[in-house]
Symmetry: D2
Subunit: 148 residues, 4 copies
């Protein structure tokens, strides 16, 4: 697949996210979508923090959920299949302190039924970047009804 071929897919994925009420409420940005990869990011603002001023765990989970699903969406045949989160596990490895939260998801294995994706979430404070969370997700491939 060339980058030219990939452009409409990236556009379709961005359009699907823009149609999510929750995506707009939280206000994340799709930084990059490439074959087998997706990066989402979110700037610090009071509405995405918890009581101690850290990014809320639910915000980290939201980035992981969307980034892993988008990464999986890049490796299915979207004319025939859709994707849906089956499950994931998330470890918070350091307090989510900083100006910006960046989540990069990478497909580890595209299976017939499930795509397994890992995600790493970093906090940026100025030039410094620090690992704050890691995740491992299984995204289900769903056959579209019209694909018969």
């Amino acid at each position: 697949m060339t980058d030219t071929d990939f452009a409409p897919l990236a556009a379709a994925i961005r359009k699907a996210l823009d149609a999510q009420g929750f995506h707009k409420l939280v206000g994340a940005e799709v930084v990059d979508v490439a074959p087998g990869e997706a990066t989402l990011a979110l700037d610090r603002r009071p509405e995405v923090l918890q009581q101690a001023g850290l990014f809320h765990g639910g915000v980290i989970a939201y980035l992981v959920d969307n980034a892993t699903t988008v990464a999986a969406a890049t490796v299915v045949d979207r004319a025939r299949q859709s994707v849906l989160t089956a499950e994931y596990k998330l470890n918070i490895v350091a307090p989510a302190r900083g100006d910006r939260l960046v989540c990069r998801a990478t497909v580890l294995k595209r299976g017939r039924m499930l795509t397994v994706v890992e995600a790493k979430v970093h906090c940026r404070s100025g030039a410094e970047e620090k690992l704050t969370a890691v995740a491992l997700a299984s995204i289900a491939n769903i056959d579209l009804p019209s694909a018969a």
Copy 2:
């Protein structure tokens, strides 16, 4: 611990959640806090949905994150310890369709360093209630600096 003893703890927990910007943004309700248990709920509105009209996976994760942490907070000595999510795993078992999402978290084991908590998330549509997600979480017990 009697229910009378427990009232100030439940009040302190509700106050901590009310101080979370993200908790207010998402708009969840603390339905119940009891020793070893917590129930949070959220009504359907466009801002908490994904593009197909289901509750967003990030919203489910947010409820699981907060409900498991609150349940763990009820079993530590809050004069000496605070709690922080270490990790959790979440399975989406059915599409999150319906009018209201209800997450109940129950402590399985209070350890010295970690409290292990399970959570079940149901969707309500009228009188019907359907299991939509299950989770298993490890919440860390953090010694307060002033506890020395």
Copy 3:
């Protein structure tokens, strides 16, 4: 499904386990197989311990892996489908001390592609039974080639 209908299925499952070299090496016992449920157990002997005299974590994982798969196998149409572990998460909640390890797996949801199963592992010492591990597993339903 009546108990009479279920007997051949339980027998087929036991036969499949007996054909596993690793099942024989570890020496676990199938205590019970019922619709949506399975219980496996293992008595203490030096070969299943770690260096501090506790049951080895790998033994707990083996019981969880087999018990969750067997529980899932009871809810698929075995003429058309087989089952295979997709993933699981396991929390060790207390040291695995005692005479016997008992793992009970229960189906939470039978999906089209995945069956979600929880497992609880207890240690028995005389009459006492203590929770030592909890797990949450996704077992894949695999269409048999002959099912076309």
Copy 4:
């Protein structure tokens, strides 16, 4: 830490594994121990397979459990602390077919209470190496009684 300093630690870790009855029963080999890393491997033999001739899932879990714990043990001060598996999640991403199973564990973050470790398990068939499982583990740091 220089490689010279690390040699006694690697020797102590190998000795601890050799004292595990289950480690000897399964017969895994410690291929490499380095700061923040551990590699364990196991050759194919009938006793470590399931009924279809694949490596048993319990064997994969055993390698993950031991390799992640050993990797974590390399980053604690062993004069003061010991390590113990708190939890892990394991995805089987392809059938465990082949001559040899190799599990490499790498520390992602050494925390005060928990060390977070990832593991990748490959199957080797001749010169070919294929990813068969991925895992994410939390290993607890336990203060030794004599460390006071």
